[in-house]
């Protein structure tokens, strides 16, 4: 086997050969996003057939294919969707659902796909907004991003019928594609930032208006990663003013704001209760802050790995992350925000699971953490959506494991995007299924949690 240094040197040499054949184009300063996005719509439209979202069965349901309909959120004992109308081959025998061991991944839980948003043409991509931002607060709507001949951009669909709601693409330009969020207190309103303003877009009236302006900031945004508002209305941002960047936390309910210094490149992430926030540091760690943005003294050794925040049934809050080294290695590791006790490995080598594969995307909601890992289905972690309920982890570490077989054939478009609904009952995820388009699926988690 060729040593690592040799392989890297060879790869560098190959890349250098390629790069040296390139000509540096005449320098042309880049301009604002809007004209580029407009042009993007035109360019991507060429060669793409009209996106119709035809159903698999050929029924004309409108904009998307939905095999069965997830009900609006009901936090208690929702019946699993009927299997009568599931797409063929996408339900599993309930007898496979028992989990006996806490040391191996249980890949046999019921996998019920309740809906599929199908891209009609090769080269068309439909993605749920990641990191828990796709689902409206009442779970009746999904916020997605789409490319195709009908236009590229964000759109909203009814999660039950699949019908597109409002115009497509949505008529505004956010700070970044992923930085469009549902208003946690109003299921008809999307939030985004523009310049130094938080903007609210009303889907019904198709109008945007300023929620609040932070005039001394040149601009406000979430920074390098999406940071959706919490269900309680805590909206965390960065304020960029000249060379200085500060944390900014705005309460959508009361209209109150706080600010504090930061060295990180992302807004502080508020916990589900809003009583703690986690602020990235510039060394890959993160510090836990209290609701007044004062440091609690707890530092999370994240090694730059992404995390999501989650609360268990007792109200204790955790950062769920993937750890590749250190005392707690695992695909899903819980770090206590109160700093009390050791990290808890939910899925990891110490529990008999594989060493964490790379490329893990993670989302959380309603006490549930879901991870999506690219690749062909290996029966364990790669190529699967894996869902854990943090409240039953010691008994049954993995509640649901769904193959999605994303072959990563389309670069970023076919990376694993996923979003857990606020109640934790549904997961929306995208997959290229090893093919030439990317679809979005909705699965029900509720049956696996019973």
């Amino acid at each position: 086997m060729m040593p690592l240094d040799d392989r890297l040197s060879q790869a560098v040499a190959d890349l250098r050969d390629d790069v040296e054949t390139m000509e540096a184009p005449p320098f042309a300063p880049k301009r604002s996003t809007a004209p580029a996005m407009l042009a993007l719509i035109l360019v991507l439209g060429v060669g793409f057939a009209l996106a119709s979202f035809a159903t698999r069965s050929g029924d004309d349901l409108g904009d998307v294919s939905v095999a069965t309909q997830p009900e609006p959120a009901d936090p208690v004992n929702e019946d699993p969707p009927s299997s009568d109308v599931m797409p063929e081959g996408e339900s599993r025998d309930e007898s496979e659902t028992d989990s006996e061991s806490d040391s191996q991944l249980d890949t046999g839980r019921s996998t019920v796909r309740t809906g599929q948003f199908t891209a009609a043409e090769a080269g068309e991509f439909l993605l749920p907004l990641p990191a828990g931002t796709a689902w409206s607060p009442d779970e009746s709507r999904l916020l997605m991003y789409r490319t195709g001949s009908a236009g590229s951009g964000h759109f909203v669909a009814d999660s039950s019928t699949g019908q597109t709601i409002g115009v497509m693409p949505l008529p505004f330009t956010p700070a970044d594609i992923e930085q469009v969020y549902w208003h946690p207190l109003d299921a008809h309103v999307l939030l985004y930032t523009s310049g130094a303003d938080i903007m609210a877009y009303d889907i019904a009236t198709e109008q945007s208006q300023v929620v609040v302006s932070f005039d001394p900031c040149d601009r406000v945004d979430s920074g390098a990663r999406p940071v959706p508002p919490t269900s309680g209305g805590t909206f965390s941002l960065l304020c960029h003013a000249g060379d200085e960047t500060t944390l900014l936390v705005h309460d959508l309910d009361s209209g109150l704001s706080l600010s504090a210094p930061t060295t990180g490149d992302t807004a502080a992430i508020a916990s589900p209760s809003g009583q703690s926030l986690v602020r990235w540091n510039n060394d890959g760690s993160a510090s836990v802050l209290d609701a007044s943005l004062a440091e609690t003294g707890v530092t999370l050794d994240l090694d730059d790995n992404l995390f999501v925040l989650i609360a268990d049934d007792e109200g204790r809050e955790w950062a769920a992350t993937t750890q590749f080294s250190g005392p707690a290695v695992g695909t899903v590791v819980l770090l206590p925000l109160d700093g009390v006790g050791d990290p808890v490995v939910i899925i990891g080598p110490d529990r008999g699971d594989p060493y964490p594969p790379g490329g893990t995307a993670m989302s959380a909601g309603g006490g549930v953490v879901a991870v999506s890992i690219p690749g062909a289905d290996d029966g364990e972690l790669e190529g699967r959506i894996t869902v854990v309920d943090v409240n039953s982890t010691l008994v049954s570490p993995v509640d649901l494991s769904i193959p999605h077989n994303s072959a990563d054939m389309h670069g970023y478009w076919s990376r694993p995007f996923l979003s857990v609904s606020p109640s934790g009952q549904f997961v929306a995820f995208s997959s290229d299924s090893g093919g030439d388009r990317v679809d979005t699926f909705i699965v029900a988690v509720a049956d696996a949690k019973d």
Binding site: M1, L4, R7, S9, Q10, A11, D14, L15, R16, D18, V19, E20, T21, M22, A24, F27, P29, K30, A36, A39, L40, V43, L44, S152, D176, I177, E178, V212, F214, P216, C217, A224, R225, P226, A241, G242, E244, T246, L248, H250, G255, L256, S257, L258, S259, A260, P261, D265, D283, G284, L293, A294, E295, D303, G358, G359, G411, Y412, W413, R415
Partner: protein, 197 residues
């Protein structure tokens, strides 16, 4: 730690305004003479390919790489009166570009924008063979910071101290990232596991 008494949005605005005013005041009394090391156009022609290569290692996309490099260079051009006087303006440009590459969806948008900008110039100059593709794909599977350290160490051939400077890390932290990254890469590429332990 600066905290703002929460009495409404105006309070936040006022607080930030004070900060801005203080900085503006400071900058007025610290005027300095800037000596540019070279014109921006010279720097651009010299460093463009190297930057695109670095962006390619981090994104895996020729188009995204070109666009990321252009974005970072645009910022550099805008601030060249300051950056051009640095000992290593390339380090500043690399830091900006690496920061821009960290958001997956930002990269996605960048790739799409790259397609627009490049228009019908569709033939990819960067088309590594399968073995190289496997190596770079493994690098991109690493945690972001580790991938960045690997890219700067191997592609840019920079010493750890300079990598730490670019990424805003301590040399020890950069060294740790490098070690962890090599260990993970060796495992992922099925190299001999004990080689780096």
């Amino acid at each position: 730690m600066k905290r703002v008494t929460p009495v409404g949005p105006i309070a936040a605005q006022s607080s930030v305004r004070r900060t801005v005013a203080a900085r503006a005041s400071t900058s007025r009394v610290r005027a300095r003479v800037v000596t540019l090391t070279e014109p921006f156009e010279t720097y651009y022609r010299r460093d463009y390919r190297k930057l695109v290569g670095l962006a390619y290692v981090l994104t895996g996309s020729h188009w995204a790489a070109e666009d990321l490099a252009q974005e970072a260079l645009t910022e550099a051009n805008r601030k060249w009166s300051t950056i051009g006087a640095y000992d290593d303006p390339g380090g500043w440009v690399r830091r900006v570009m690496i920061n821009k590459s960290t958001s997956r969806l930002r990269r996605l948008r960048t790739e799409a924008k790259g397609l627009v900008r490049i228009g019908n110039r569709r033939s990819e100059a960067i088309a590594p063979n399968e073995r190289s593709l496997e190596v770079w794909a493994a690098v991109r599977q690493l945690p972001a910071r580790q991938a960045q350290v690997i890219a700067l160490f191997y592609w840019e051939d920079l010493p750890v101290a300079q990598i730490a400077d670019i990424l805003g890390l301590s040399p020890e932290t950069a060294k740790t990232h490098l070690k962890r990254a090599r260990t993970s890469l060796a495992r992922q590429l099925d190299s001999h596991r004990g080689e780096f332990s």
